[in-house]
Structures are given as structure tokens and as C-alpha cells.
Symmetry: C2
Subunit: 206 residues, 2 copies
């Protein structure tokens, strides 16, 4: 056992050596690069291994499946986005507006690398139970971003449900966009629509 594993905010897993951390970075970088070039299918494990100068077996030791790898790649990107958003918070007047603004900003970022978005989102929704912890981590990170935008410190269960619904819509709308069944405009409309749930669950405090 004892798979190397860098937990983002916890230190429970055995620390990686310098070289291991470097390997992990190289792998994630190669993964993102290949994904950006051709989406989910272009991320081929042999190619990732070669690109990151690591043996195939080692790649599998770090990430036990292609889906694990891509979900980890998404974690990585999300973390990036979170710090970016923190630097320039959304400017809207209401929580609903700020959440919609934040998600649309994220959406525009994804549009810049649609293939990468494809790989990450498809992996995320295709993931089976064996990837649950990692997918959950991504979900928590997303929730954190949305709650940040809402600027609440003590969300009610109802509000948390609204946030979950927003996340559902976010993922699924991305999927429909990625597979060419919905336009960018439609995704925007749907995001704005679902964000109205926030008004519904947040008593007007005027």
C-alpha cells in the first residue's frame, strides 16, 4: 500500500519527498497539457507517463486510474481558481448576483481551454465509487467558492441545499455545453436561473 498522496489541506498522509512531489507535479502538468490538446480521450496513460518521465507503473501508483488522475487535475485547477477569485471578489449587490458572476467567470475560464474542461468534467461525472473521496473534495472546494461569493458565515440547511442544486446545475450545464447540446448563452441563462434559488432561501435583509 502506502500510495503517495498530497492532501491539499491535511497533513495526514505521509509526506512526499522532494522528488516525489516533483514527479506528482510533472504528472499533473502533463495531464493538463494533453487534456488541453484533445480532451478526455487525448489523455492516454502511456503518453502521460512518457511526457512526465515516469514509468507507467509509477503513474498508476500516484493515480490509481485515469479518472483519479483527471479529478486530481481538476482539484489542482480549482484551487488555482479559488485563489484567483479571492483576489478579485465578485462585485454584485446580492448574493445571487455574486454567485452567478463567479460561476460565469469560471465558465469563461473554462471556455479558454474547452478540451481541458471536457476532460475534467467528464471524468468528474463519470467517476465511480472508488473515486468518491476525491470527487467529494472537488465538490467541497466548489461549495467553498460559492459560499465565499455569497458572503454568508452561517448558511442554513436550506441554503446548503440551494448551493448543492447550483452545483448540480453547474456540472450538468457544463456537460451539455461540452457536448454541443447547449450554447454558451443557454448555460448563462440556466446559471442565472438557478441562482435565483438563493434569493428564495435568503430572506431579504434590507
Amino acid at each position: 500500500m502506502t500510495a503517495p498522496d498530497a492532501r491539499t489541506t491535511t497533513r495526514t498522509t505521509p509526506a512526499l519527498t522532494e522528488r516525489q512531489e516533483a514527479r506528482r507535479r510533472r504528472i499533473l502538468h502533463a495531464s493538463a497539457q494533453l487534456a488541453a490538446r484533445g480532451g478526455f480521450e487525448a489523455v492516454q496513460m502511456r503518453e502521460v507517463a512518457e511526457s512526465s518521465q515516469v514509468a507507467l507503473g509509477t503513474l498508476y501508483r500516484y493515480f490509481p486510474s485515469k479518472v483519479h488522475l483527471l479529478v486530481a487535475t481538476m482539484q489542482d485547477q480549482l484551487q488555482h481558481m479559488h485563489t484567483t477569485v479571492r483576489k478579485r471578489p465578485p462585485s454584485g449587490d446580492s448574493p445571487a448576483e455574486r454567485v452567478a458572476e463567479t460561476l460565469m467567470r469560471a465558465f469563461r475560464a473554462l471556455q479558454r481551454e474547452p478540451h481541458l474542461a471536457d476532460a475534467m468534467v467528464r471524468a468528474l461525472t463519470f467517476a465511480d465509487r472508488s473515486v468518491s473521496p476525491e470527487v467529494d473534495q472537488v465538490s467541497r472546494q466548489t461549495t467553498a467558492i460559492i459560499l465565499d461569493a455569497m458572503e454568508l458565515d452561517d448558511p442554513t440547511p436550506e441554503q446548503l441545499s440551494a448551493v448543492r442544486v447550483i452545483e448540480h446545475t453547474w456540472h450538468s450545464a457544463l456537460i451539455t455545453w461540452l457536448s454541443g447540446r447547449a450554447s454558451i448563452a443557454q448555460v448563462k441563462i440556466d446559471i442565472e436561473m438557478v441562482c435565483r434559488l438563493i434569493d428564495l432561501t435568503t430572506p431579504a435583509a434590507d
Copy 2:
């Protein structure tokens, strides 16, 4: 070319197509059966071919990929559900209640065959552009079921957006349930939450 193809609700197919129709049914049946046993991964093309007494090449002539096959399986099941729902329409007083009731009924049906649900839903969200027409068909069918429950004859664009958001939530909530990251109770809460959007977009006509 000339792939065999049975369009829903039409019976333009004469003699030979009788046998082809039978093959198609056998394939879909085998697919559903294997899926019900072990989910997405248990639907192996060689096994489907053997179970339905059809050569592998023939299977691929009827359904050009595993995802196509599973999406077609879903179409089949959905059709079933739609006629079932029509027979006993939801009883709620408001459109929102009726939609929630309908979706919860569908959810309970899926719970009876969770592996089958897994196979169908995972295929649906994993489908790439090459399956768009078929996925779109499923989407339209789902929309029809929801609109039926709403008992509207002339939905506004806003209401259609709400319906799309409900579908997004429906699919994504199923995914989180299937991968064990959300409980049945949570799915219920989220469905009821998103259905409130209907109230929001349907001016109270009292």
C-alpha cells in the same frame, strides 16, 4: 450504410425488419439485464452480443458504441416510464408539487434497479458529441414528462429554462446518489428545492 433504425412510434418496417426488430429488442433486453446485474462496467459488448445471439459486428451495426447502446436502453426505459406516468398522473395541487412527485416516483423506480440506473445515467453524462442526437432525444423525452406534470400548454422561455435546470439537477443528483456521495433523503430535498423554481416562474394565478 443503411443502418437499421426503429424510430419511435412508427411501424414502417415490413417483413425482414421483423427479424431485425427482434434482434434490436434482444440486444436492448440483454443490455438492460446485464446492466441491472452489475452496472456500467458489467455491460460488456461481447457479453451483450452473446446474450442476444448476435455477432459482435452486428451489435456494432445496431449500436455504434457502448454508450450509444446504453443511451438507447435509457430511451427505452424512459418511454416505459412516460406511459406509466400518463396512466396515473401526479396528484399534487401546484405544478411544482406535481413535478417533484413525478421525479420522486421516477427516482423510486430507479432505486429498484440501482445498477441499471448506474449504467444508464453514467452513459448519458459521459456521452460525447457523437451521441448528441440520442442524448438529445432522451432529454426531450424527459422534458416532455416534466411539462406533462406541470400541465402547461404554453411554457414561457423562462419556464423552459427552469425545466432545464430541473433536469440538470435531476441528472447530477442521480450521479451523486449512484456514487454514494448523497443519500436518498438528500436527493429528495434537492429535487424539492429545485422544483421551487417553477413557482418562481409561474405567476400565481389565484
